[in-house]
Structure formats: structure tokens, C-alpha cells
């Protein structure tokens, strides 16, 4: 509460928040390193230095790079499918008021359902290969996109429509030049959430299947109490998730520039 303070010389101007954040992360890593080396049983929690070294081992383990590649493939396909389906359904629902009132509640109801409960069924039905992972990813990713697109279309300012019509725009022109651009920022926001959903769905499915893919290796590393390799594998997946999220986020920021 800086209500009562003389504005003296500005302190800490060299300590940017970004640098501090990095410092916090490094401090945490440092504490982890010390704790792991001195106090905790090496088997349970490896220090970061060991994890870094074993990253090479992890990638060298036969089957791991393939599993990672397959996961990336599943993520990409699931995301693309989610976008296509989400955009289509979202436009259909959003553009018609009756369609919106009828079907949106159904969409929201399905979105709220805990999908993890049907994961065992999905695997039984679609098998342990890529299709089931993609299906589960799509079922998580399609809803935010649909909802965001429908909302973006619905939230059109009436004055923009009236203005366009007064200038003689046809229905197609109104869609292309007024409705669609209006909807784009929401679309990208929906895609960001959709990517989070796809990541969740695909990775959940991968972790569930213990006979192949990532789930197989997490199982092996856990059984062998190889915490270094496990941490390494999980870190690679986390990094993948961060990068994919960041890509979509940057796209969203770029295409939403006209919004204040």
C-alpha cells in the first residue's frame, strides 16, 4: 500500500521481475540439489545434476524417442482435428439463435463431464495404439474451441452489423468482413484452451496404457526405482507441453492485436 510514501530514489530498478523469476527457479533447483545430495535417499529424488546427465540415457533407451515422437504426432493430429471440428460446430451453433439455444446447453453439459471416467472404455474400444489417444485428446480439446467460437460469433456488436448493412453489404460480405474477423480473437483464445485440453487428453491416455508408449516407460522407470530417468522423461514431456502452449499463446496474442 504505497499511499503514504515519499517518492525517493527509485530502488531496485536493476532487478527486473524476469530476472527475479529466473533467480527464484535457480534457487529452487539449488535447494533441490542440496537436499537430494545430503538428506534424501538418492533412489527417491535425484538431484537435478544427475537428471540432466541422465537425459542422454533416457533418450538413448531404446523405444523412448519413438514413443516421444508418437506422442507428438498424436498431439498434432488431435489438435488439428479439434480445431476443424470445433470451428465448424462452433460456427453452426453460434450463427443460428435457435441452434445456439438448443445445442449450447448440451455442449456445456458434455464439457463439464469428468471424461477421465470413460478413459478405460475408450482404450478398450479403440485399442492401445494412437487412435485412442487421439480420440481422447480430441474429446478434451474440441469443447473449448466450440464454445469460444460460438461465443465470439454471438458477441457481435449490433452497431457493427447495422453499420455494414446500411452500407449495402450482402449476407456473405457481412460474414466475411464483420462476423469472421470479430470472431478471430475468441477463436484463438479457444485454441489456447483447446491445446491445453488436447495435451491433457493425449497425455492421460498415454500414461494409462502401460503396455506401450510413454506409459510403458514411466512404468518401467518406476518399477526400477530409476527416479533420474523418470524425472528426465517427465521433464521432456513437460517441455513439450510448454513449447506447444507457448506457440498457440503467441499466435493468440498476435491475432488479437486489435483488441485493446
Amino acid at each position: 500500500m504505497a499511499v503514504m510514501r515519499a517518492d525517493g530514489p527509485h530502488r531496485k530498478s536493476w532487478l527486473q521481475p524476469g530476472a527475479s523469476r529466473l533467480a527464484v527457479i535457480l534457487a529452487l533447483l539449488g535447494a533441490w540439489e542440496i537436499a537430494a545430495r545430503l538428506y534424501v535417499d538418492r533412489d527417491f529424488l535425484s538431484p537435478p545434476s544427475i537428471v540432466l546427465v541422465s537425459l542422454g540415457d533416457v533418450l538413448g533407451t531404446p523405444g523412448v524417442p519413438e514413443a516421444l515422437g508418437l506422442t507428438l504426432y498424436e498431439l498434432t493430429i488431435a489438435f488439428v482435428l479439434s480445431v476443424i471440428i470445433g470451428l465448424t460446430v462452433g460456427l453452426v451453433i453460434g450463427l443460428g439463435r435457435f441452434a445456439h439455444r438448443s445445442f449450447m446447453p448440451i455442449v456445456l453439459l458434455l464439457y463439464g463431464m469428468p471424461q477421465i471416467t470413460i478413459l478405460p472404455i475408450i482404450i478398450l474400444l479403440f485399442g492401445i495404439g494412437a487412435p485412442s489417444k487421439i480420440a481422447f485428446g480430441v474429446s478434451h480439446g474440441v469443447f473449448p474451441i466450440t464454445i469460444a467460437v460460438a461465443a465470439g460469433v454471438q458477441n457481435l456488436k449490433a452497431v457493427l452489423l447495422v453499420s455494414a448493412r446500411s452500407m449495402g453489404a450482402s449476407r456473405w460480405q457481412i460474414f466475411r468482413y464483420v462476423v469472421f474477423p470479430q470472431m478471430v480473437p475468441s477463436f484463438f483464445a479457444g485454441m489456447r484452451l483447446g491445446m491445453t485440453g488436447v495435451l491433457l487428453g493425449v497425455l492421460l491416455a498415454e500414461l494409462y496404457v502401460s503396455t506401450a508408449g510413454i506409459g510403458y516407460f514411466t512404468g518401467i522407470f518406476t518399477q526400477n526405482l530409476d527416479s533420474a530417468k523418470l524425472l528426465g522423461l517427465v521433464s521432456i514431456l513437460a517441455a513439450m507441453a510448454i513449447v506447444l502452449n507457448e506457440i498457440v499463446r503467441r499466435a493468440e496474442v498476435h491475432y488479437s492485436r486489435w483488441r485493446a
Binding site: S20, R21, S102, P120, L124, T196, T222, A241
Partner: protein, 256 residues
């Protein structure tokens, strides 16, 4: 945009379409398993599912799993609240700390933290401890982020007015900061609850020896499809009820 029936007639027909849609789905499901010869091992008969559901509820078979899941949830949520609210309030006191930590937390929250379940299982085993730990971890983030937002964005004019009237630190917290932050914080608690619940069920599904999630996996692997579906319906209902209760509680705390 097409002009449609406005007002209550429109709403009525929307309801009709929704119910018709759901009825159609049920009908298709029924037909698929009885007339069209879809393998009962893949898709059980809706009547069979209903029978199994009644059996589960009447026999009380669900009780031990439900209690375990709820206990894990309660513990996870309690930890998440304690850490989230405390840390969130402390961070909100300094704009600098907010700038450092808020993006950090938001960034971590964006990845599926359930990824780290194998690590928790490695360290804490297949028992409830790993579920509680993961649930607390996942539930922590929306709570801390919303607490930071709630306390960090209290209208400056209100704080200025209170100071000018002589409010001390405790009075400022009790009469200004806390009531102002409460709605946002409660929303964070609601979200935290929901994700903690999903996390607990999820980790029971992936790596556990007991609990509702594990029960579904068990039944599915034994190919007892009708009973599996029954439990899925049951769990979905439980989740819906819990979420509704929490939403109602949140609405009570709102003054906006």
C-alpha cells in the same frame, strides 16, 4: 443472423429439441445393443447398465471406494487452500512479487500437472498419499492465482479512503481488503476444488489400488461392461453433485 422466434415460445422449442436429442441418443444406444447386434462386450445394454447401477447403490458396494476418494479429496483440498491462500496473500502485498510469481504460477498451471503422477507414485507409493499430494499440487494453482488477483486488485480509492479515515493495518484487512478480495478468492476455491477432484479420480484411474477411479479400471479390465458403465454414471453423478454444492456455496459469498 437469421431472425427466430423470440421469447418463451423459442425457449420452449429449444427445450423440446434438447430432450428429443437426448431421447434419440438413448434410443440409438438401446437399438444398437439389442437389434443391431453391437457386441455386448463393447457396449452394454442400457437396461443392463441400469440394473447394475441399482445393484451397486443398493448393495452399498460403492461406499468404501467413495469414502476413500472423498478423504483424498478433502486432504488435498485442505492443503491446497492453506498453502494457496497464505502464499497468495503474502505475494499480493508487493507489486514486485506479483510480477515475479504470477507468470510463473500461470505458466506451470498451463501444463497438465498430472504428468508428474509417476514421480509422486515413485516417492509416495500407490496409496492415498500420492493422490493427496498430486491433488494438492494441482488445486494449489487456481487458488493462489485467484488469491493474488483478489487481494492485488483492491480498488486504490477504497484503500485511500480508509487510510484517510484512520484505518490501521488490521482494520484495513478486515473491512477493506478481505471483503473486496472474497468473490475472486471464492471463485478460485471453486475451481481448485473441481480440479482437485478430477485429479484425485484421474490419479486413481492411472495408478492406484483403491478408490472410485480404480474401481472403474478394475471392472473394465475384467470386461464387466455393464457394471463399468454403471460406475461411470455413478461417478459422473457424484462429481456433478459436488460441483453444484460448491458453486452454490460460492454464490453465497458473493456481494457483487
Amino acid at each position: 443472423m437469421r431472425r427466430t422466434r423470440a421469447g418463451s415460445t423459442g425457449r420452449f422449442w429449444s427445450r423440446v429439441v434438447q430432450l428429443a436429442f437426448l431421447a434419440c441418443l438413448l434410443l440409438l444406444w438401446f437399438l444398437a445393443t439389442t437389434e443391431w447386434g453391437v457386441n455386448q462386450l463393447l457396449l452394454p445394454n442400457p437396461i443392463a447398465v441400469w440394473d447394475q447401477l441399482l445393484d451397486v447403490v443398493m448393495s452399498g458396494e460403492f461406499v468404501s471406494d467413495l469414502i476413500l476418494t472423498l478423504e483424498e479429496l478433502a486432504a488435498a483440498f485442505a492443503i491446497a487452500i492453506s498453502l494457496g491462500v497464505t502464499l497468495g496473500y503474502l505475494i499480493s502485498r508487493s507489486p514486485y512479487l506479483i510480477k515475479v510469481f504470477e507468470p510463473l504460477f500461470a505458466g506451470i498451471y498451463a501444463i497438465p500437472i498430472i504428468l508428474f503422477l509417476p514421480l509422486y507414485v515413485l516417492v509416495l507409493g500407490l496409496g492415498p498419499a500420492s493422490k493427496v499430494a498430486l491433488g494438492a499440487t494441482i488445486g494449489f494453482f487456481p487458488i493462489v492465482l485467484n488469491t493474488i488477483a483478489g487481494f492485488g486488485t483492491v480498488d486504490q480509492t477504497l484503500q485511500k479512503a480508509a487510510r484517510s479515515m484512520g484505518a490501521n493495518g488490521i482494520q484495513m484487512f478486515r473491512y477493506v481488503l478481505f471483503p473486496a478480495a472474497l468473490p475472486v478468492m471464492l471463485a478460485g476455491l471453486r475451481i481448485g476444488f473441481t480440479v482437485a477432484l478430477l485429479s484425485v479420480i484421474g490419479s486413481e484411474t492411472l495408478a492406484s489400488l483403491a478408490g472410485l477411479g480404480h474401481r472403474i479400471v478394475n471392472l473394465a479390465e475384467s470386461m464387466e461392461m455393464a457394471r463399468t458403465f454403471a460406475y461411470i454414471v455413478f461417478v459422473v453423478a457424484i462429481v456433478a453433485v459436488l460441483n453444484t454444492v460448491v458453486s452454490r456455496l460460492e454464490a453465497r459469498g458473493r456481494w457483487r
